[in-house]
């Protein structure tokens, strides 16, 4: 007997789409915004300490390249450390929470309360408790990332497709087998939803932490250049933050495509 059916064509679709139609829209968007910005500074003759032109920002970026690069690395390391810590604590906590309804009832309100605390208000406290080093920054990033990771992992673990649960039952899998072979892998796409949300928040968390009691990092660079009315440098730092955030997000999306190529396709 020969197999005559062909593969579904849906998987080929993204590749069939042209290189241009895929990359052109985002590039056009950026170009349009920069052009508008430039036009505003020229037409209204805006003072550079209020709104520097794109050219002035580019100059600041080139002149202070080393300074900006070092601070970017500082912010990046805080972001990644805090993010990693949030995964290391958040995922196991989600496992525990979904294992027992009682624990879920105990832990969820506490988590919600923790999440409701404005992180900007916590930043100065963290300095009081943990000093001026890198750790309070990492910890704030952790606080910001923690919640979406726990919630999404828990949601993934408790929404295993019914037919897969039934399959496990028909094979009489024990708790551990059900978890390892079915529930955990089935939760991974949801986990990535949380991770992608968390990584964008992580950068914001790092910057907020660097606003107080810091001597380095892009957040510190923004505050310092703002204080000396070097708005162009502040803009340069903010643009780098945006780029950092976007790069981290797409890296994570690439990791997701590599490890979970089956998501949304089954």
């Amino acid at each position: 007997m020969t197999v005559t059916e062909t593969r579904r064509t849906r998987t080929d679709k993204p590749r069939a789409e042209g290189h241009w139609t895929r990359h052109l829209p985002p590039v056009l968007g950026v170009v349009a915004v920069v052009a508008l910005w430039w036009a505003i500074t020229v037409v209204f003759d805006v003072e550079s300490f209020i709104l520097p032109s794109p050219l002035q920002v580019a100059q600041a970026m080139a002149e202070q390249a080393d300074y900006l690069w070092d601070n970017t690395l500082v912010t990046l390391s805080e972001t990644l450390l805090g993010f990693g810590l949030a995964i290391a604590v958040g995922v196991p906590l989600a496992l525990i929470v979904t294992a027992s309804r009682m624990l879920e009832r105990t832990v969820y309100p506490l988590l919600l309360m923790l999440n409701a605390v404005p992180k900007v208000a916590v930043a100065p406290l963290l300095v009081v408790w943990m000093g001026f080093g890198q750790f309070p920054k990492v910890f704030l990033v952790f606080l910001v990332c923690f919640f979406p990771i726990v919630i999404s992992t828990a949601a993934g673990l408790s929404s295993t497709p019914a037919d897969l649960v039934e399959l496990g039952r028909s094979l009489k899998t024990n708790w551990w087998q059900t978890f390892r072979l079915i529930r955990m892998p089935a939760a991974v796409p949801q986990l990535f939803v949380g991770l992608k949300l968390a990584i964008t928040l992580a950068v914001i968390g790092a910057v907020i932490a660097e606003f107080v009691g810091a001597t380095e990092g892009l957040g510190y660079a923004i505050v310092a250049s703002g204080a000396s009315a070097d708005t162009a440098l502040a803009f340069a730092a903010m643009i780098l933050l945006g780029v950092l955030s976007v790069v981290l997000f797409y890296l994570l999306a690439a990791v997701e495509r590599f490890f979970v190529p089956w998501a949304d396709r089954s």
Partner: protein, 255 residues
């Protein structure tokens, strides 16, 4: 091989009690292929789930190979209406899943998985992920997964109902061949009279609300059978008409 004795099933819902099966008795011999047909709501899937041990019967007893059913068993394989493949596992790893759960010898299991996949024409697709396969191919993988545990009884719950007509015909012929080769006992639920007549030694007709055994029709036609071209079209036609009448005409219900 399978003995179903006076089995009744009552579901308790918020709206009250629903009688899904009433006093159903049936015996399936070793190596026999029995199809269960009936209109929706006749409890045919329920009956199959009871035999699979996926849920307990309200009353009555079911034994497989002489031992009463208390829960899912290794010697009873179950094939679902949907393929229910693990989307993150390759074709061959999906087939191997039961052997992992039962902690069987890996090398032997791997060899058997390859043999089975070859048997259903999926050699060369071992490393593919389920979403890269068509519906018919996915259901074939699902069939291999049910067969790798070498069940004495194979239970199939409308396994081809989500497929297109040609793929169904294809898989029906294939299933017949596999069953003749392995001589396993099959209990096959379907709502298709054609499928039942083509595949079964006996066709059990259930009538709906509550599900009761209406009649058992013997299909005494030599195998292998196929739709379209065979020398028994007259007999097949008559049986089909008989089953059709049984399904379409309501039976007086004594309440």
């Amino acid at each position: 091989m399978i003995e179903i004795r006076n089995v009744s099933q009552i579901y308790r819902t918020r709206a009250g009690e629903v009688e899904a099966l009433r006093e159903v008795s049936l015996e399936v011999a070793d190596g026999e292929f029995v199809a269960i047909v009936g209109r929706s709501g006749c409890g045919k899937s329920t009956l199959l789930r009871l035999v699979a041990g996926l849920q307990p019967a309200t009353s009555g007893e079911i034994t497989v190979a002489g031992t009463p059913i208390r829960g899912p068993r290794r010697d009873v394989g179950f094939m679902f209406q949907r393929p229910a493949l693990l989307p993150w596992r390759s074709v061959v790893d999906n087939v191997l899943l039961p052997t992992e759960v039962f902690r069987q010898d890996r090398r032997d299991a791997r060899r058997r998985a390859h043999d089975l996949l070859e048997l259903v024409g999926l050699n060369g697709f071992e490393k593919r992920l389920p979403h890269e396969l068509s519906g018919g191919m996915q259901q074939r993988v699902s069939l291999c997964r049910a067969l790798i545990q070498q069940p004495r009884v194979l239970l199939m719950d409308e396994p081809f109902s989500a497929l297109d007509a040609l793929t169904r015909a294809d898989l029906s012929v294939e299933l017949q061949r596999l069953q003749m080769k392995h001589a396993s006992t099959v209990l096959f639920v379907t709502h298709s009279v054609d499928e039942a007549v083509l595949l079964a030694d006996r066709v059990v007709v259930l009538s709906p609300r509550p599900g009761r055994l209406r009649q058992i029709v013997n299909i005494d036609i030599a195998r292998p059978r196929s739709l379209g071209h065979d020398g028994h079209s007259t007999e097949l036609g008559e049986l089909r008409a008989q089953l059709h009448d049984l399904l379409m005409t309501p039976e007086e219900v004594t309440r």
